[in-house]
Point group: D3
Chain length 160, copies 6
């Protein structure tokens, strides 16, 4: 990216600001994010044998609910009316892999919502395993794709 | 850790629950967490030359404020009255390194608050650089240390 | 209703999810709900003779404010931009009767908002009379009518 | 109860107020509440055969989380630091029966928290079944017991 | 203004209510507000020499974030999806002058958001100087202008 | 006050921070604040003749509820468990005078809570009269007194 692309949330003096999105059209926006929670094989196995799946349900709900409150948590984010938030949690990649997908029809994208969903789902899961595995690590929290905005779509290349 | 250590937030049927902390004594608790936001050298350099430091201030505040609302975000977390939340942001480690330290006097620890502070500070920073560097990644979100609880202190070994 | 109507918030594996409303049109939606707070005749009479009507005002406001925050409280509910919330409180039916009416222009209905308004208005009223009548009961919390959605309007039959 | 017991939240002119609890001692308080969601036998049966139990998990979490935010929802309620919130959901009594139990160490009781937990768990459950059974009713929302306060314990007599 | 202009939030019996805005068109609305925080010349000077500008950043962010939550704070206010919130803080007028500007596309105006932004920015600034100057006063909190509504634009005359 | 009294929320580099109150004792703290809403005599008179007093009730409740959420609104404020919040509204001083009194037992004072209560009560009142009197001004928002802290009590001198 060119060195002169401006930071959108910082004015020319470096002062933080919201970005006025009033002139952008309302379009359908989709954003997907993911992260991993690194856990021992034993903890992953034990989570998998729990009879009722509540640990995953708690984490999924934490992610969905946090996505809806992103504008309260990220100071310069715009409020968005979300059409859908989906959070999936599955074993794999050295622990548990969390993915989120957020859909809205808005003047700005839902990247922050998708990332917030993953982050809080991961921390809710951490909260449930921390008595067993205090050293769990959340890693690779990142945007996977984004579509619907004026600046073109984004899709992360496969994990190198 | 022994294979029979229970998941504290899951009962014997795997059903999620809060943990009753009513019988624990009130002690001074300190928890420290950290994470990194991986950024290109160019973005780090540009953040460093901004005249007013607002980008860091926004991220620090986002972390402090999220810590205070952890019990709303992590479904089974206990409300805590925090005595102090500190968030530091510094260039390094391939981007920006974020550390948090939370202090309270309570019946349960503030790990989730420290982790939530780092996560939301990182996402607030991501929000400010995303127009320039959409592919930024938050990584190594983890508890660094914890003290004051009945189960003994915890200190992560140096990064291997 | 046919036995094969799906639970909209549960996928085929029983996993809870939000419902993607992105393909539904924005229409004007109205939802009405009601409940009763069962109180002794004496408490009802005393509430009625209070000179300034504040008890009813507190309950009405609690209902209006809770309606605006329904998406934070009901985990899988969509955020809605409400055009109007009205809550009425009147003596009758063995205590106090509470009715709500919520209007919005949205892709999904405002049933949960109308029900949440009644529930929290009732609990705010309970809070004010509980020193006098601890055994008060909230009952018959239910949707009265709903209009504007694709699946047709709903109107509860008269109380049998 | 004597006709001259005052409404604690209303002053002598009927003006609503918080009650100053500053002179009360901190004691361990427990409050239990319950309600029912009336559902058709078919809906109850279908909820019971869902493989992963998520519907109940969503409702339980909604109740736990709402309990923690009671002071935001009930205008004159005091903020409380809760030691535990438990919500149970079980088929029975013409639908689903919801019970809550809240524990804290505080200057005032947690009745409103227990009732709020039941109300919002019930509405979260309603939200999930409403596509199937729009006419579901929440009923018998009430305090079951309360202990730890200066005014003596309360236990509701068996349902008459 | 004529003596018979009704209070919009009060019905004919004086009972408070939300105003149903469902029949109003969605238009672009801009509202500007301002206030001052009266401070000693010494405190203003010291704020100005702080190297990193964080005090102003904290106050600006507090204002922006409060604006986004106005509908939670002002009981009868409508939720609004804000396109932009800007808060500026500058020395002058016997202390510090705070101005806000809020933009949205909605059925009702954003006056309350602009005023809430100024009020909370002012209090966040007060919070930071209170150890030094406890007697600071927030004054002249007022709407400066408003445009985009059906009832015509408003612009305050120059300070008399 | 001496020129070298530090800004408590700003470290030696001007970076904003919370103040660690962990070493302060828990004491009973009382803070009182006030402000005025300047209104035309006609508006004041009309508010006074409303039959049910709801306008004042709405404003009082807005103030009480905002006080409970101060730590969410003022970024560096500590969460406090409030024992009491009282807000009074009375005609006078060229409009309406609002006073608040907040009581807690805590390691830090409740000044910000008392000021936030007045500010949001004033804006709630503004919201209700704004259709009639758009130019209303909130003024003289200030701390009146503070007691219970280590640094000694504060009482504002009579209005000069």
């Amino acid at each position: 990216m060119a060195a002169d692309t401006p930071f959108s949330h910082l004015d020319e003096t470096g002062q933080a600001r919201m970005v006025d999105v009033g002139d952008k059209p309302v379009t359908r926006r989709v954003a997907e994010a993911s992260c991993r929670v690194l856990l021992s094989a034993e903890t992953v196995a034990r989570l998998g044998t729990l009879p009722k799946g509540d640990a995953h349900a708690v984490a999924r709900l934490a992610g969905i609910q946090a996505a809806k409150r992103t504008a309260e948590l990220v100071p310069l984010a715009h409020p968005l009316i979300l059409d859908d938030v989906a959070v999936e949690i599955a074993p794999g990649d050295g622990g548990v892999r969390i993915t989120s997908r957020v859909v809205c029809q808005a003047r700005t994208g839902a990247e922050m919502e998708a990332l917030t969903a993953c982050a809080m789902a991961a921390l809710a899961l951490y909260d449930m395993v921390k008595a067993v595995e205090k050293g769990a690590v959340v890693t690779d929290l990142r945007l996977e794709s984004k579509s619907g905005g004026a600046r073109g779509d984004f899709r992360r290349r496969r994990r190198e």
